[in-house]
């Protein structure tokens, strides 16, 4: 806190000569960024670069098998066309999960901001985030309990309507999306909440005084102003979801085949790291492309 002492040493009525030549801005910017990106470089970027190198090899370079440079791993989508379908399904899974999270989470954030105050609000927020602290695997297994035939959901239904059939959705895509929405919803609630909580009441009142009903306020004021939150939330949900494998495997039954499980299989069973890595990097490229397009569209809209 060198700077603080300098400021404290400053006395009334004089300009302290010691702070006259501050560090140039780039120095402090670098100082702020260096720890994070240094850390990421060691822990993520360099390891991933290794993997990127692997993805151009014909075999995992760990054994004795001779490896050579090849691009064939990146041809997988052409050689094995069923991967395209899996990839598309994964994207759709990501899309639906993100969409549901966005709708449910945004509304929850709005409700938090507009219908609660003070301690109640903070307690509710913490209660919403807490389920996150239980193990994902345990949570997913618990969902199987709820969703399976004669599970909790059926039981509750049968309490009300004794001889209704089963409404089990376990081992369907609905179950997978449900599990994923459950697992990722808190991200969206929190990021939207953060974006919404600082909106000045006067702005909403202004809209109301101009004749806007609540739905207009929602989509003309709250959603655009909470866009940063929605976007961060979408990033934090969409990206991991299309690579997820636990929820699809456990809740999806035979339909639970996703890019995530394909990649996992390459690593755990097939021992084909190059293919697994190339699939992941392709996935990353697709994700980046989607977000680049998306943010371009967004920017275009706010500018116009």
């Amino acid at each position: 806190m060198q700077n603080d002492q300098l400021a404290l040493a400053q006395t009334r009525g004089s300009v302290d000569p010691r702070v006259k030549r501050p560090l140039p801005a780039w120095v402090s910017t670098t100082a702020l960024l260096l720890p994070t990106y240094g850390w990421l470089t060691i822990a993520i970027f360099l390891p991933l670069l290794t993997m990127l190198a692997f993805s151009f090899m014909s075999a995992t370079p760990m054994g004795k098998t001779p490896v050579e440079f090849t691009l064939k791993q990146y041809r997988a989508f052409i050689d094995q066309p069923y991967l395209l379908r899996i990839g598309f399904n994964s994207l759709m899974m990501g899309f639906w999960t993100t969409l549901f999270c966005a709708i449910l989470g945004f509304l929850a954030a709005v409700a938090l901001v507009r219908a609660t105050v003070g301690k109640t609000r903070e307690t509710l927020l913490v209660l919403i985030l807490l389920p996150f602290w239980t193990n994902g695997l345990v949570r997913v297994f618990s969902w199987t309990m709820v969703l399976r035939e004669n599970g909790f959901l059926d039981n509750i239904l049968h309490m009300v309507v004794p001889d209704a059939g089963s409404i089990s959705i376990l081992y369907t895509r609905y179950a997978v999306v449900l599990g994923l929405v459950h697992g990722y919803l808190p991200y969206m609630i929190l990021t939207c909440y953060i974006a919404l909580v600082t909106i000045d009441d006067a702005i909403i009142e202004a809209a109301a005084s101009l004749g806007a009903r609540w739905w207009t306020i929602l989509y003309k004021i709250l959603i655009p102003m909470a866009a940063p939150g929605l976007i961060s939330g979408a990033v934090l949900i969409f990206i991991p979801v299309i690579g997820s494998f636990m929820e699809p495997r456990i809740l999806g039954g035979r339909v639970g085949v996703t890019m995530g499980t394909v990649i996992e299989d390459q690593f755990t069973q097939a021992f084909n790291w190059p293919l697994g890595a190339s699939l992941s990097f392709t996935l990353l490229a697709v994700v980046l492309a989607i977000f680049a397009t998306f943010s371009g569209v967004l920017r275009g809209r706010t500018a116009g």
Binding site: D200, A207, A212
Partner: protein
């Protein structure tokens, strides 16, 4: 019928009463200025009329219907906020168009109205900027345009011109008045500028600590203030206290002052208010009211010179003189003041 009536409205924040038993009517198509010290409850009253705050007690009526429980968007009210409350994510044009769209005016028609409104507030060409790219006064004008463009039946303006320079403010006043007259909007206007209040309004209402102390047309309120507070708040005043004696007032120093106001009976205590511009420095023997005083300060204020004076027995007085020939009189000089009984108003304390 879009007159606005408030009946026995009261509002309390925690233990603090902000409005107490406000009852008044704002006639259809009238322009009313609301004046009052900072914190007296002006904004709160506007917000109650607009419907952002529910009064603790009392009723708000627009036209002939009780709207106390009608939500804001059902009241057809235009409000301009003291804090502007511009939509930060929309351009200026989008901000102004917002209310039009809600009224089903879109496309070319909306564009035209927006252009006209921006022209009115002298911001043509700023339509594509974002609010944060504007100066304070420019933002205020956008807020004004946004509230006016929808031509609501009731227009509530909370210090709409406070951030504007005098010239622009005068232009805006003219425009505002024109639109108000043309569309017959019932307008309630909070301002701190007494000149603005007096020149623009059909009615002036003076608020003090959550109560309306006087409401009437500008000349009446200015020339015949009912209370000491009103006399002091709207414009300046000299106050003279004394006892009634044979239809006149005898001050403590023995001077007898005549007033055209109705005075209480002999021997009663009474406070008289005299506007500083009504007093004359030039010795004119024709006036019955006279005092002698020493000039302590001359304040230069452009078109007007303010003289601060003191009578020999320590009574402070103020006098305005038109600055036609500069400082004719100097500090330290002793002068004789005179004024007419017509301008000697008896006020309540």
């Amino acid at each position: 019928m879009t007159n606005v009536k408030v009946k026995s409205v009261a509002k309390t924040y925690g233990p603090i009463p902000v409005l107490t038993d406000i009852s008044t009517e704002f006639q259809e198509g009238s322009f009313t200025s609301l004046l009052g010290p900072s914190g007296s409850g002006k904004t709160t009253l506007l917000r109650i009329i607009a419907g952002f705050i529910k009064p603790d007690e009392g009723v708000v009526m627009i036209g002939n219907s009780d709207v106390t429980n009608v939500p804001v968007w059902g009241r057809n009210i235009g409000m301009m906020f003291q804090s502007y409350a511009l939509f930060p994510h929309m351009t200026i044009a989008q901000n102004v168009a917002f209310g039009l769209e809600r009224r089903g005016i879109k496309g070319e028609a909306a564009r035209k109205e927006v252009d006209r409104a921006l022209e009115m507030v002298r911001l043509s060409g700023f339509g594509d900027r974002l609010p944060k790219q504007l100066s304070g006064g420019q933002q205020q004008r956008v807020a004004l345009a946004r509230a006016i463009v929808i031509k609501p039946s009731v227009l509530l303006l909370d210090e709409p011109l406070s951030a504007l320079d005098r010239r622009l403010r005068q232009e805006m006043q003219v425009e505002l008045l024109r639109i108000q007259r043309e569309s017959g909007l019932t307008t309630i206007f909070v301002t701190h500028d007494q000149e603005e209040a007096l020149t623009l309004s059909d009615k002036v209402a003076i608020l003090d600590r959550g109560r309306i102390v006087q409401i009437g047309d500008p000349e009446t309120v200015y020339e015949k203030p009912l209370t000491r507070f009103a006399a002091e708040f709207l414009g300046d005043s000299n106050f003279l206290s004394g006892k009634v004696e044979n239809g006149a007032v005898r001050l403590s120093n023995g001077t007898v002052v005549r007033s055209d106001s109705a005075l209480p009976g002999n021997g009663a205590d009474v406070t008289l208010a005299i506007r500083p511009e009504k007093m004359s420095l030039v010795t004119a023997d024709t006036q019955p009211n006279k005092l002698s005083a020493r000039i302590t300060t001359v304040i230069y204020a452009g078109p007007v010179l303010s003289y601060i004076l003191e009578t020999p027995d320590g009574l402070p007085l103020k006098l305005f003189a038109q600055n036609r020939d500069g400082r004719v009189l100097r500090e330290g000089e002793t002068v004789s003041l005179s004024w007419s009984p017509e301008h000697t108003i008896a006020v309540a304390n």
